[in-house]
């Protein structure tokens, strides 16, 4: 049997490549009022959006950096391009794409992916969505799936009604930053009673050095509808730090269900600072499946505001932190109505000096009677250099509820490792097997092609440093 450590020595980070840059517009480095204005002008946005951006910029300047969570002191806001427009106009067939962009996508595997499953692909290259193919079926049933800029142009009434309503700019510093300079992201609208059977997917990519990506996603699921949205991220390796500060707002109306799956694999120099929030109305179901493997620092706490009676919220999350990484991730559940329920399952793994922190909030408001909360966080620490934290907050202002929280932290079972190695399995393979078993309850909720990718990534990360 081949020694797995050997094959890992020449392991090339699969997505760690970068293409020559060819842009039609690149804003100057750093951020001021003029940059914000010029972004809005280039996009020919309505006045309300321009005002929204400028107001958000003012809030961004005023807001302090978060005083808790991961270390963000290395971020230099003046050393970032806030807007880059890669090609003149959007193209809707594969053949029309510029060569470099096509090569980048070929290496991520977009065309194959498209052939295999797609209901729709929206791929983001730099800050503008340049490639988008929308399945005819989607249009037929009235589903809108486009990039956010197009959404604003074509459906201004819907966008104005929902945009920034769930995550206002003053929510936090990075939401304010995104609100000021957002570009790209997805806009999804599912009409009443429509159930979209295939998941919608978007690929995101950062390709310019020192360039932060500020995508903005808005999903609206009308009464009784269903949608599954998948966000997968890969990014090339660069030497300087990049910021990814996204905002995702989801409105789940009565009896509707939305599932949002993320497989985050940014390269290890990206600050991934994302605000994700969903509002669930009467008997609505919101599910976040959140896998954080990459990035230097991630701060992300997908939340569900349970506003309607009988609404359900769920967050399933996996965090993996290797050398130099800090995954500060978790979930927030806010119960405002009776008979609401929430469930948080978090699995984190730290290795090679990595640090994982679960940070979560559960709040039950007065009147949210017969609500139930279940939180479970498990952590594996694989070596002496690594660290794991758990910071759950539970605020209960109602007595007719049940709230449960449990957490465990442990190392990988020596007996299990011994058993597997005694059967001729190498130690690194055995560790990979056990770690994949540990995260299995979450992985099984992810579509097959992603769970295979995730298992493969974990195996690679695991066998990379066998002592």
């Amino acid at each position: 049997m081949q020694d797995p450590t050997v094959s890992n020595l020449d392991f090339e980070y699969r997505y760690g490549f970068s293409m020559p840059q060819k842009y039609t517009f690149k804003s100057k480095k750093g951020l001021d009022q003029d940059v914000v204005k010029s972004i809005s002008d280039i996009k020919r946005e309505p006045a309300w959006m321009r005002d929204f951006r400028l107001n958000s910029y003012r809030i961004f300047k005023q807001k302090p950096m978060p005083s808790w969570g991961a270390d963000l002191t290395d971020i230099n806001f003046d050393d970032i391009y806030y807007y880059i427009k890669p090609t003149d106009k959007q193209v809707n067939s594969w053949g029309d794409l510029p060569k470099e962009i096509k090569e980048t996508y070929d290496r991520i595997g977009v065309p194959e992916a498209e052939k295999k499953f797609l209901a729709g692909v929206s791929a983001q290259y730099e800050s503008e969505v340049v490639y988008e193919s929308i399945n005819r079926e989607l249009k037929k049933i009235g589903v809108i799936f486009c990039d956010m800029d197009t959404g604003l142009r074509k459906y201004p009434d819907i966008v104005k009604k929902y945009f920034g309503k769930l995550i206002p700019p003053h929510d936090n510093k990075f939401a304010a930053l995104n609100s000021a300079v957002w570009s790209g992201g997805s806009f999804v609208y599912v009409p009443k009673g429509v159930k979209v059977k295939l998941p919608l997917q978007a690929y995101f990519r950062i390709n310019a050095e020192r360039f932060g990506q500020f995508e903005r996603t808005l999903i609206i699921a009308e009464e009784g509808s269903y949608i599954h949205y998948i966000e997968g991220c890969t990014a090339p390796i660069y030497t300087t730090n990049s910021i990814h500060a996204a905002v995702v707002e989801i409105f789940v109306h009565k009896n509707a269900r939305v599932r949002y799956t993320t497989v985050q694999n940014w390269s290890n120099n990206v600050y991934n600072l994302v605000t994700k929030r969903a509002r669930a109305d009467e008997n609505a179901v919101m599910e976040w499946v959140d896998c954080n493997i990459g990035s230097k620092v991630t701060m992300k706490y997908p939340s569900v505001y349970l506003f309607g009676e009988g609404a359900k919220g769920e967050v399933l999350s996996i965090a993996f932190a290797g050398n130099g990484q800090h995954q500060d991730a978790g979930a927030k559940m806010l119960h405002f109505a009776p008979n609401t329920s929430s469930r948080i399952i978090s699995k984190s793994i730290s290795k090679n000096g990595g640090r994982t922190s679960y940070r979560g909030l559960v709040q039950v408001m007065p009147g949210a009677k017969k609500s139930s909360v279940f939180v479970s966080c498990d952590a594996l620490i694989l070596d002496e250099q690594s660290r794991s934290d758990t910071y759950p907050y539970m605020k209960i202002k109602e007595n007719d509820v049940t709230v449960q929280h449990e957490a465990t932290v442990e190392k990988i079972g020596e007996e299990k490792l011994f058993y597997l190695t005694s059967k001729g399995i190498s130690r690194s393979d055995a560790e990979g097997l056990l770690v994949n078993g540990f995260i299995e309850p979450v992985v099984k909720e992810i579509p097959l092609e992603y769970s295979i990718e995730l298992n493969r990534l974990i195996n690679l990360e695991m066998s990379g440093s066998v002592g």
Binding site: L382, E384, S388, K395, I396, V401, E406, A407, T408, E410
Partner: protein, 188 residues
């Protein structure tokens, strides 16, 4: 019987407890607000920490506990139980911190609260910070009202509602008094 050092914080009137010698220790406190440090600085310490809270009227408790394992191969086990009536408030923050050197530590933390009124407020934050890998740590927290099925059962046995509630709450609290009693100590 094994020698046990018993510390009642209500009588000790201090917040810092440093354990430098191996052995069995039991710490107890009742309806006390404050920030309590428990530093485990030697191998072979077996520390139980019991906190009991009964909140009535406008009682407010703000409690912070820090179980800090500095030496390897010790165990700490914290259990805080609370019953809250009327407009009482309970804010609890518990931290287990395992330093790098404290391999083979076992640390547990449990907070269970019963809410008896819809006007009380519970804020529970059981934190873990684990810097060593060969450890076993768990924490759990539950908050809710009394089990209605059990009350119903007792009512069918001719107990009135308040007697049934009292019986269940006595049982809930007894877990702590019984454990301390096992070592020959009594609390009122």
């Amino acid at each position: 019987m094994k020698h046990v050092t018993f510390l009642n914080i209500n009588e000790e009137k201090r917040e810092k407890f440093i354990f430098n010698k191996s052995g069995k220790y039991i710490v107890f406190f009742h309806n006390l607000s404050g920030k309590f440090f428990f530093d485990l600085k030697a191998k072979g310490i077996d520390l139980d920490i019991y906190g009991l809270f009964v909140g009535r009227n406008k009682n407010q408790f703000k409690v912070e506990t820090i179980q800090r394992h500095i030496a390897p191969e010790s165990t700490s086990n914290l259990l805080i139980k609370g019953v809250f009536y009327d407009e009482s408030k309970f804010i609890y923050q518990g931290l287990i911190r395992i330093e790098k050197e404290a391999q083979k530590s076992h640390a547990y933390q449990k907070n269970q609260n019963i809410i008896m009124s819809d006007k009380c407020f519970i804020d529970s934050r059981p934190f873990l910070e684990i810097l060593a890998n060969d450890v076993f740590c768990t924490h759990g927290s539950t908050t809710g009202k009394l089990n209605q099925n059990k009350i119903y059962y007792l009512q069918t046995r001719m107990l009135d509602k308040s007697a049934a509630e009292k019986l269940l709450i006595d049982g809930f609290i007894r877990e702590i008094t019984a454990k301390i009693g096992e070592y020959g100590h009594k609390i009122s």
